[in-house]
């Protein structure tokens, strides 16, 4: 039996930012069933719908670029798939784009290696854009940025963030509220969480100590080849 695969780009908005990755998967599965979309299931005792993600999004983050592959048993037009699924998805989750791809295409998880984020922060005191830019510049000049990562059921691990930060830029500061964008390594070869970058930055500089992260937004996931970025739709 030959199946079909659709690659999609999905928005996870503020309305659903507290649902976990697993809850997100279940929500999709149930929406697929309500929409009567012919999703393929795994074989075996415990059949699972064939849905695969690029990279799990942590709780409380929003995203405009969740890439998800759906394996279908029927050849469904991507536009129809998008419309039918969107009708059944709760507010806050929306399929932006869907494209037919070969069933045997490399998995999203294996190709994605970079993620971009926009972080809104609230500082303890007022700051100018120039001041923050200077701090970030100093931060990036460091040879290494060591952090301790806590791991569930395992011992803590020390790692160097610096080589995994591809870029870090100040978008702007207004009073105590600043916005920072970053491009960091994502995936099995090395993974950085945006919170870790902010915490490391805060640790370095007194003035922005313990800023409150108001919102972290995933703006993109990419396949980075040298200095070029490609989206999962461009492979």
């Amino acid at each position: 039996m030959s199946n079909y695969k659709l690659r999609t780009k999905v928005i996870k908005g503020a309305e659903v930012r507290f649902i976990s990755h697993l809850d997100f998967m279940n929500t999709l599965t149930r929406a697929l069933r309500r929409a009567e979309i012919p999703i393929a299931f795994s074989q075996g005792y415990n059949p699972r719908p064939q849905i695969s993600f690029a990279s799990a999004l942590a709780v409380s983050l929003t995203s405009e670029s969740e890439y998800i592959d759906f394996e279908l048993t029927k050849d469904l037009d991507p536009a129809e798939f998008r419309i039918r699924l969107n009708q059944e998805l709760p507010t806050g989750i929306r399929v932006e784009k869907a494209m037919k791809v070969p069933v045997k295409i490399d998995s999203l998880m294996s190709i994605i290696n970079a993620g971009s984020y926009i972080v809104r922060l609230e500082f303890k005191e007022k700051l100018t854009t120039e001041e923050l830019e200077e701090k970030v510049r100093q931060f990036l000049e460091k040879d290494e940025i060591k952090i301790i990562r806590k791991r569930r059921n395992k011992s803590d691990r020390e790692l160097d963030l610096r080589p995994m930060i591809f870029s870090l830029e100040v978008v702007g500061v207004q009073g105590e509220i600043g916005t920072i964008s970053m491009l960091v390594q994502t995936g099995s070869a090395g993974n950085v969480r945006p919170q870790e970058v902010i915490r490391a930055l805060a640790k370095e500089f007194e003035v922005i100590q313990r800023p409150r992260m108001i919102n972290i937004h995933r703006s993109g996931l990419y396949i980075k080849k040298r200095d070029d970025l490609f989206t999962p739709f461009e492979v």
């Binding site: 309305e15 659903v16 649902i19 279940n26 149930r30 697929l32 069933r33 299931f41 409380s60």
Partner: protein, 622 residues
Amino acid sequence: MELEDRLEEILPQVTNPTRYMGREVNSIVKNLDEVEVKVALAFPDVYEVGMSHLGIKILYHLLNQRDEVAAERVYSPWEDMENKMKEEDLPLFTLENKAPISEFDILGFTLQYELSYSNLLNTLDLANLPLRSKDRTAKHPLVIAGGPCASNPEPLAPFIDLFLLGEAEAAIEEIVDKYIAWQNNNYSREELLKDLATLEGVYVPQFYEIDYDENHNVSKFEVQEGIKEEVKKRVVQNLDEAFYPEKFIVPYMDVVHDRVNLEIARGCTSGCRFCQAGMIYRPVRERSHERIKELAENLVSNTGYEEISLTSLSSGDYTGVADLAMDLVDEYETDKISVALPSMRVDSFSIDLAEELQKVRKTGLTFAPEAGTQRLRNVINKGIAEEDVISAVTDAFEAGWRKVKLYFMIGLPTETEADLQGIVDLAKKIANLGDEIRLNSDYKRRVSVNVSVSTFVPKPHTPFQWSQFNTLEEINDKIQYLKDNLRGKDLSLDWNEPQVSLLEAVFARGDRRTADLLEQAWQLGARFDGWREVFDYQLWQKAAQKTGFDLEEYACRDWSLKARLPWDHLMLGVNKDYLKEEYDKALAAEKTNNCRYDNCSNCGVLEQLEARMDLLRGLSNE
């Protein structure tokens, strides 16, 4: 700042923020300014427990069918959220509109277990409402409660304006209608309550004055002029015609029963003498196969759930259960939707059926012999013989099941050491049997037999309502006996905390004086008493001391067969004479037949409620 915006700031700081988020698929958010009556439906436990409850689902969708009514949900915030809400001075709110509970017209609680009472008080407090009914006025919501614990609601009498006995979907709309009439006519709160008290099933405790003597017997029972002396529960006569929701809310987070729960029947005639549900949910009524299939189809297409669970108190008794289950399996197999049938009696028929339903995935099987010897099983009228259990587990092991869970109770009336030894013997026999079958089969994995022991708590409106509750020392000795003797390969033992059972026993048969104890314990910080990791017995002891209670003395006291019981004015259908007769037969270890298959046992429910047993193919003895 709007409550919703403030919530956005708090939620990242608490565990499981989804509990407080709402916005689930199929939840109903109305404009509260455009309705006449706002009802908050409260389940006094956390979201994932409360969201699994069928009763609230029924009432939520039934009430929301009416344009002039908005029904919204509220659950207990976990401790971290409660602390945050207090820090931020945030009142308790509903999930739909994030509206403060205090702005609602009616606040309805479901009382599923006694250990949720402290959460009920906490709900009132977090909603900024006075705890006691007498301190609330017409500007506060009308506080009502129903569910199984409303069959003895006396411990909550001072806190609740009215209790609804029986099946709430049969009466809730009448309550709402009377409320609307009251709103339009603007008469006093007391007149509203008097008017509501005329409805069958409605119990307004403030109109009943009850006092007790030093032996805890009812010494005074006075009913206000014009108020009925006895309150009779309400029932739905025909399940096919009764309302059943078809658009269940689909939670984001994993809740306890995250599936299509489809109730196939109500009531049970097995007549187990310890079982409150078996007594208070009579008569038995079955939903037709056609209606169930129709509901299944609509529920699956509206929710997208991957499992349909056919629920009732005793599914094996349901007429044509195998046909129904197999029809559903055939219908939904290709969509990868599974069909589950919990609450099956242990017999070979149920193993065959379970095998069909589970196909290849053989998770655990649960058996509930309840008592270790035939004598004690006769006492409790659990119609199950050891041969039945043995042949059923043999079939199960042979069919490849590896995990068996056995439920037993300790502290049952007339229990002796022989009965405890009976638990040990039966469990060992089953474990040995499993190992033997394993060695003669292709299954490599060892079997596991888990014995789960709970302490028997006497419940109102059951034949054991006069039974003594064991002392803590007795319970501890019995658990120790099992720990010492129930050892061996493939065996494991679980038991619940005796002090938790003691507290349950205090409130299950508690009278109005326990209200002070409850309020005191809540004030000292009691919350989530049914949660092992939260329950704090010392706190309850302190509360008991302050209010002049001896918890153990109160829970373990003798009960007189002649005295008026604190809940005797509440009629749940079965006669007190029947319960007494059953109690006598229990002490003589005599069984009573299941009236579904045999003669009527004269429990009185049909006469009292002018109801009938509604079986799909009629009674077998008709």
